[in-house]
Amino acid sequence: MPMRNLSFRPHLSFQALCGWTVGALALAYVALIAVVMSYGAMTVSFSQSVKDDEASVAGLEARYLAAINSIEGTDYRVAGYAKPVAITYVPAQSATALR
């Protein structure tokens, strides 16, 4: 069996190397544009989505604060409740009494 020469000898010329490099760069450029456009579209979409959600939360917060406002503004005497005739306070217990 004849001996085979296993040593690697590059056959790529300088011009071919430049050509491949230009091709790769062009491809990268196109890919970059695609990524930038996708990224921009997604950024806009996500930002809008976040702001929409925040606006929805603001609506719920408005309802919550309106409820607080209503509770604090309720006159319980008008609602039929009477002021207690007497108030009895429970004496404060010492810590040892709880054991």
Binding site: Q48, N69, I87, Y89
Partner: protein, 578 residues
């Protein structure tokens, strides 16, 4: 070989030149031939806002007692409607369609006039359409009608802490910015550049690599977290509105503060306004009376006079004096509120019975120099509260040498201070003699996600702890023994209080004899207070004393705060109150 190489270089050069020429021709076409068309399109895009120009701004939060944050100011999203008079086909039909879904739009005549103005290409006719209404209108695809995304400032609480939160408007420029309240003070934190939402990663990469790694805006842009508790704020507002309406006052206000930190839990004044509906609000209503207006507060100044004299050693709680009911100082007559003499009485009675003659006696005993020094320390500077346009106190009488002026100041006449200055000074008594900085904001939540607490640590000792405690015990006795003839006493909770009734100054000089400024202050638990309250009502009708107008309001707030915050008792109740 060299000739072949030269040939290839020429081909490449020729190709580059060809592409450059093509670009030049295209550029000429865009810039010169079609320039007007593109300019008009760009103008229209700019006017309509487009997606890249949507309004953006940080949020302001209330903080509930459990730490939950509720938006006080945020953004709402919806649609605006614009028409192009050059392409609109049936203005009457468009008006009908728009007015059917929009709550705010131009009048029919104004709309038709705008639609008839063929010189214009863009006129906004309706704002703040809800999502569903905007989408429904867009689906109709009416010729000459644009339905565009819109975002605007929204205040979920409406009028809740309106003066303190403030508003956003155009002011004198052409950009929206904070004009009053926290919106103004923290404008640099809340404002956002329009492009911040839709930043182009690669554009930034090529223009400014540093900003991608460490964005300077992240260090100062953020949301504002306040110390205002929405339930307490709502309660205070309702109580103030009730007092104001009951007595037809010119205005009323109140502040609830943590005396040990200066954190303001609620701050409100009446009349107020709805922040989401500014169309009918007069500009005078937008300022915050609690930091901008000065008042002569009357007898709630007496505890400060007493604390000063106790601190200086001019009097002790056991010191007595002979109360004659009226005295004459520098040819002016000073009398107790009821003109009655009390005889020889101890210092505590000056606070419990609110005696002007006694306060004057203490001021004389203290001496003008020391009185001047204490009151300059208490009121000589603005408080530094985070609200715009804070006013300073009117302390001209401190620079005089007439004793009558000092006597008047000892019971709160002839000295005018803002409510926030007053609560800060009274807070020194509650806080063991140390004065703190009142503030509404506890932290900034930065866009980077980091929460930066604000340091309000500037503290000033005005009185000794002993003097503060002795004054507190006098105010405590007023609550337990005198207020509502003792019926106001809370067996399980010590509360230190003082009422104040001042005559209103007349524009022609002197004071009205039948018009008053009522104030009320108190803190509890007396000897380790969690809350200090200041209330006032200006020029209430057909009532003379603050103990009549503000006592029930004050007590309502005290009981509310005890229940709401589960404030534990600070003394044992062995009796039954009725």
């Amino acid at each position: 070989m060299r000739a072949q190489f030269r040939f290839r270089v020429r081909i490449i050069f020729g190709g580059v030149l060809f592409v450059a020429l093509l670009l030049l021709v295209r550029l000429y076409g865009v810039q010169v031939v079609q320039g007007h068309t593109y300019a008009a399109a760009a103008d229209q895009q700019f006017l309509s806002g487009g997606n890249t120009g949507l309004f953006d701004r940080g949020a302001i939060y209330f903080t509930r007692k459990d730490g939950t944050q509720i938006a006080a100011a945020t953004l709402a999203t919806g649609y605006l409607v614009a028409i192009n008079p050059q392409t609109i086909e049936d203005p009457a039909a468009v008006y009908a369609a728009v007015s059917a879904v929009a709550s705010t739009t131009l009048s029919r005549s104004a709309f038709l006039a705008a639609a008839g103005d063929r010189a214009r290409v863009y006129v906004e006719v309706a704002h703040h359409l809800p999502d569903a209404a905007g989408k429904a209108l867009a689906a109709e695809d009416l010729p000459g009608v644009q339905v565009l995304r819109e975002r605007w400032r929204y205040y979920p609480g409406g009028s809740l802490a309106a003066h303190e939160v403030g508003i956003v408007s155009y002011g004198s420029g052409d950009t929206l910015s904070g004009q009053t309240g926290l919106e103004s003070v923290y404008d640099s934190v809340l404002e956002r550049s329009p492009d911040s939402l839709y930043s182009n990663f690669f554009a930034q990469l090529f223009s400014n690599v540093g900003s991608l790694l460490v964005d300077a805006k992240d260090a100062h842009e953020g949301d504002v977290v306040t110390t205002i508790e929405p339930s307490v704020e709502a309660r205070l507002m309702h109580d103030l509105a009730a007092v104001n309406e009951k007595y037809s006052s010119r205005g009323s206000g109140g502040i609830i503060m943590d005396p040990s930190t200066g954190a303001i839990i609620a701050m409100a004044s009446y009349p107020t306004y709805d922040e989401n509906n500014l169309a009918t609000v007069t500009p005078a209503l937008l300022g915050d009376p609690l930091v901008e207006h000065v008042h002569e507060f009357g007898s709630i100044m007496k505890p400060l006079t007493m604390a000063s004299a106790l601190d200086a050693g001019a009097v002790t709680p056991q010191t007595t004096y002979d109360d004659t009911g009226c005295i004459t100082v520098d040819h002016a007559r000073i009398c107790n509120w009821d003109y009655k003499a009390r005889g020889v009485i101890p210092m505590i009675e000056i606070i419990k019975q609110s005696l002007n003659v006694g306060a004057s006696w203490v001021a004389t005993r203290l001496g003008q120099d020391k009185f001047r020094a204490y009151f300059t320390k208490l009121f000589g500077q603005k408080t530094g509260v985070d609200q715009p346009s804070e006013s300073g106190a009117l302390l001209g009488n401190l620079d005089t040498t007439q004793q009558v002026n000092f006597d008047n100041m000892s019971f709160g006449q002839g000295i005018a201070v803002t409510p926030v200055q007053m609560i800060r000074a009274l807070g020194a008594i509650a806080n063991g003699g140390v004065m703190v900085t009142p503030h509404l904001v506890s932290a900034i939540r930065l866009s980077s996600g980091v929460t930066r607490p604000l340091d309000w640590g500037a503290k000033t000792r005005v009185f000794s702890a002993t003097a503060a405690r002795e004054t507190t015990s006098m105010m405590d006795a007023l609550m337990d023994d005198t207020l509502m003839h003792g019926a106001a006493k809370i067996p399980t909770m010590s509360v230190a209080v003082k009422t104040g009734t001042a005559q209103l100054p007349s524009p022609s000089g002197g004071y009205y004899t039948d018009r008053f400024f009522h104030s009320f202050t108190g803190f509890f638990p007396s000897y380790n207070p969690r809350f200090i309250i200041l209330l006032y009502t200006d020029d209430p009708q057909h009532v003379e004393y603050a103990s009549e107008t503000l006592d029930s309001t004050f007590l309502d707030l005290v009981h509310f705060l005890i229940d709401y915050y589960n404030v534990p008792p600070d003394r044992s109740a062995t009796s039954t109150a009725s």
